[in-house]
Symmetry: C2
Amino acid sequence: MANKQLHIGLFGFGVVGKGLYDVLHTTPTLQATIKKIVIKQADKKRSIANENFSIDADTILNDETINVVVELIDDADAAFDIVKTALQKGKSVVSANKKMIAEHFEELLQLQQENKTALLYEAACCASMPIVRNLEEYYDNDLLKSIRGIINGSTNFILTKIQEEQLDFKAALSLAQQLGFAESNPALDIGGFDAANKLSILLAHSFGVITKPTGFIFNGIEQVSLPDAILAKEKKQKIKLVATAKKLENGKLAAFVLPQFITQCDDLYQVQNEFNALTTESTFADQHFFKGKGAGAFPTASAVLSDISALGYDYKYEYKKIFHQTDTELSNDFYLTVFISTDDLTKIDKANFEWIEESHNEFNRSWLIAVIHAEKLAGTAWWRQEGVSLILCPDAIIETVEYKKISKRSLELAGVV
Amino acid sequence: MANKQLHIGLFGFGVVGKGLYDVLHTTPTLQATIKKIVIKQADKKRSIANENFSIDADTILNDETINVVVELIDDADAAFDIVKTALQKGKSVVSANKKMIAEHFEELLQLQQENKTALLYEAACCASMPIVRNLEEYYDNDLLKSIRGIINGSTNFILTKIQEEQLDFKAALSLAQQLGFAESNPALDIGGFDAANKLSILLAHSFGVITKPTGFIFNGIEQVSLPDAILAKEKKQKIKLVATAKKLENGKLAAFVLPQFITQCDDLYQVQNEFNALTTESTFADQHFFKGKGAGAFPTASAVLSDISALGYDYKYEYKKIFHQTDTELSNDFYLTVFISTDDLTKIDKANFEWIEESHNEFNRSWLIAVIHAEKLAGTAWWRQEGVSLILCPDAIIETVEYKKISKRSLELAGVV
């Protein structure tokens, strides 16, 4: 039981950094102390003595007695520079910066290998929940078929409020900001970028696929309208922003982040407010469901702490799926059943659809349910326009449409449709 | 990435052992092969060649080329002998035998230390779910406040059928047996022994407490009556067999396995049939919820496989809570709010209660809700009689009753009660 003494250099002293500092000083079992904290603004009033702080990154990076760098700053570019230098200097690194990790995954992997040091980032996915480590350690032989989850707390909070209190999008966002569940600049969250960054990280640890968010379809929740939420409620469903990755029958991988209608029998139905959740499906273990707080200073600090603790035992990600498994490729060669609502039907290019299952015109909003090839979503932008809302139906993925096309055609011939 | 070559000696070739054999022969990433299988009956017809089998345990235990023993037999005493000898011979061991592990925890811990070898048993708690490893690895610094869960699949299946289809206990048990969710001798499951064995293992990995099931209060579901289930349904609640461990304000630990009424807002409410689930509550991460299949050949084989895979990376439990944390003691010095129903009120010794909150007499069954000191449950047997059913109320634990006693008394003085 080699419990290594950890000397930490901390970048960032926001709520998470501050929380971590407090926890480290009250946790007797962890042999870790913060030696120096690098901050951006020197003149801010702090709760601990000034000599703990520096505005010069090199006071940490050039200090050979510091063996662990904990990076908790917002700026993804600055974070990458810090993490890169720290790894090159042989220091272990803990980070919570999903954007930085998703954008530089391949380089970060190489840096870890070249410098024989560890980068851990449990806090970057679903905050307190041990998702990365479980995907890495536990679901390695039993073949994963799919992962699916709610991995952004802000959007889930906003959608919960739209649906439960029938707030419109702006009012719900404003409430989320007041309660500290959304950033003052919420674009990363509500545009789906944050969830896409997290899915990018999860894809590497669950299926060995390295891809930036630009490699798969994703969208946020800005276009989800109150009438959509009311319709969901009438059907006893909820709308959630869901990240999905699913092995197709052809061995390739479907992956996307899109809003989806969730039925009552879906485990994700109960995941409300700032909670996150992930469902895994594997050949032998069948379905597993994890739920926990996906946002907030303490849940994030808790995951960071767990990574620091793991470094004490020389833990590092083995990236087993990347190195040991047959190459899995992303593919958009599958179909999705989608609900589309709009204030103006001319915004919808119906030529994109395989077929339309339902079509409704109401007072000031029209909506339809249609089947579309994923490549046509990836390659077009009409469905991202203002006034158009695209939401996946439950069980949206269809791998092949031949049979359905035929039966649809026979219905038409019979005059039923 | 030291991926050690594993030469496995397998004890037992039931459904789990057979499943494991098939999986190992189709998993390319795992450098593990089964060298020999020891079985009890030599004359049974097998699906693989006879030369794989032996009825002599020593063909595995004395084979120095075998470095991993996988023990999948029913008999806990025979299992202990095998595991003990294997560890003494320096072999790593994977076991799914909760009864054996719970009964011999301290000896097994010592054997691992003395022989510097690993015993892994993820499959012993909640089958496929990675509960032991998460408790061991992840919840080590963030202080756990409680764990609470449904950790026996058979009883959960039976209770689900009683409640959903209003079967009586015997009919539900018989259905569970027909469907393979209960053993032909179901005493270990329905008597609560299996769940108690699992809680015993969980206590060690979550709070560092080593205790046999005799060290805490437990009961099964045999006495849960159909009228109890109907009453639960009227209140929109369900009855589940729940294992609980909770840190008390005095630093001691409350632990028990008892049936409990579960409200709709409880995560355990959605856990139906043979599923298992565990909720953890910790200071910083807050609540986490895990759900997965807790029984069945494949989910169990999946957990065994994951342990075998971990041995390839020289993984062993560090038992951090046992070795690094301040001693936590079990205590029955707390109160429980309980529901008690009976066919004969004279079976209930009311002198045991702090006070009675409700009392009802119906046609052929009486029931009451009362507050009782846990020590009075631990030290008496009246509530285990046939015709008496004791079910915890939601939020059953009360740490101190002084205030409530006084307010109760003032209600009495005011003539309200």
